[in-house]
């Protein structure tokens, strides 16, 4: 009998987050973080971007990307604190803060995407 603990689920979220953020984040950051603000490329009209985000499919993709990236961060941050700072004795506090932040971030993302739809 396998004893239940949340580690497999958290690792799956971490793993999926690593894959999607590695594939999609760099191009989004390059476009919306550098190329458009610095004028390397002409940004699309804001109403077109809003229309795109209002599409349920685009909203689901963006939401998944944000949620999985946040859980990827949370898992990494938690283990960095455990092993990097060697404060594993605070494991419960660290887990609540890390995954709690990811849950709050996910809720904010859901709210914002809902507002834009």
């Amino acid at each position: 009998m396998i004893r239940r603990h949340p580690e497999p689920l958290l690792w799956m979220l971490f793993s999926a987050g690593g894959v999607v953020s590695a594939m999609l984040m760099p191009v989004l950051v390059l476009l919306f973080g550098l190329a458009y603000p610095l004028g390397w490329l002409t940004p699309p009209a804001s109403d077109r971007v809003r229309a795109l985000v209002a599409n349920p499919l685009a909203a689901i993709v963006l939401f998944s990307l944000i949620v999985l990236s946040l859980f990827h961060w949370a898992h990494r941050f938690r283990h960095t604190l455990y092993d990097g700072l060697q404060i594993k004795h605070l494991s419960e506090v660290i887990a609540v803060v890390s995954y709690g932040a990811a849950i709050v971030g996910s809720a904010v993302a859901a709210y914002l995407l809902w507002q834009l739809s």
Partner: protein, 246 residues
Amino acid sequence: MSDHITLQIARYRPEQESEPTFNEYEVPYTKESAVLDGLNYVKDRLDGTLVYRWSCRMGICGSCGMSVNGEPKLTCATFLADYAPGPVRVEPLRNFPIIRDLIVDIGDFMRKLVRVKPWIVREVDKPLSEGEYRQTPEQLDEYKQFSMCINCMLCYSACPIYGLDPKFIGPAAIALAQRYNLDNRDEGAGDRMEVLSEYDGIWGCTFVGECTKVCPKHVDPAGAIQRYKLTAALESMKSFFAPRGA
């Protein structure tokens, strides 16, 4: 013609000193001399009180693992000429308690190893009269890489997680569990899952990857662990959604 090189060897004689110290010895070497040859020269000619483990001197027995200039190495497969002009620092494997000089206590590893049942587990052994268990080359390739492990424990010495938390079952034990899990003659994957899916099993690993880097037999324990994480995670999801193991 042979040159000389200085070995700085960690000595720890518990009846004499409370902390390990270093002794220096000048040993001759040629381009064929391994660090182990240097140690044998010290033991035979300079200081017979030095103790260390070794046996086959050809990378099979896995007993001569030590820290050479801070890196876990098989001393029979590490050459003095590569460290010229020296000195070469030889210490016991890190992350293990030192018993004496270069000898560490491997009891923890031996206890962990048996927990993962590194042998072929069968519910019912087929009778001898039915002949051998046959295997195709493809079935052999599934696990062959992991069967190269010689239990030298260099991976435990290199693993920072094991260094911080000795409860972690560790790279070689997981790679050896996979060696049998991936063998089509074996039926013990379920037993091993119980041990490996614990928090101190595979989930302790954060994929630092040093185990694979130092492995003298190119076993890739880090790869074995990541692969097993996926197996265990899917298994745990399955048991969550179908608790009766449907």
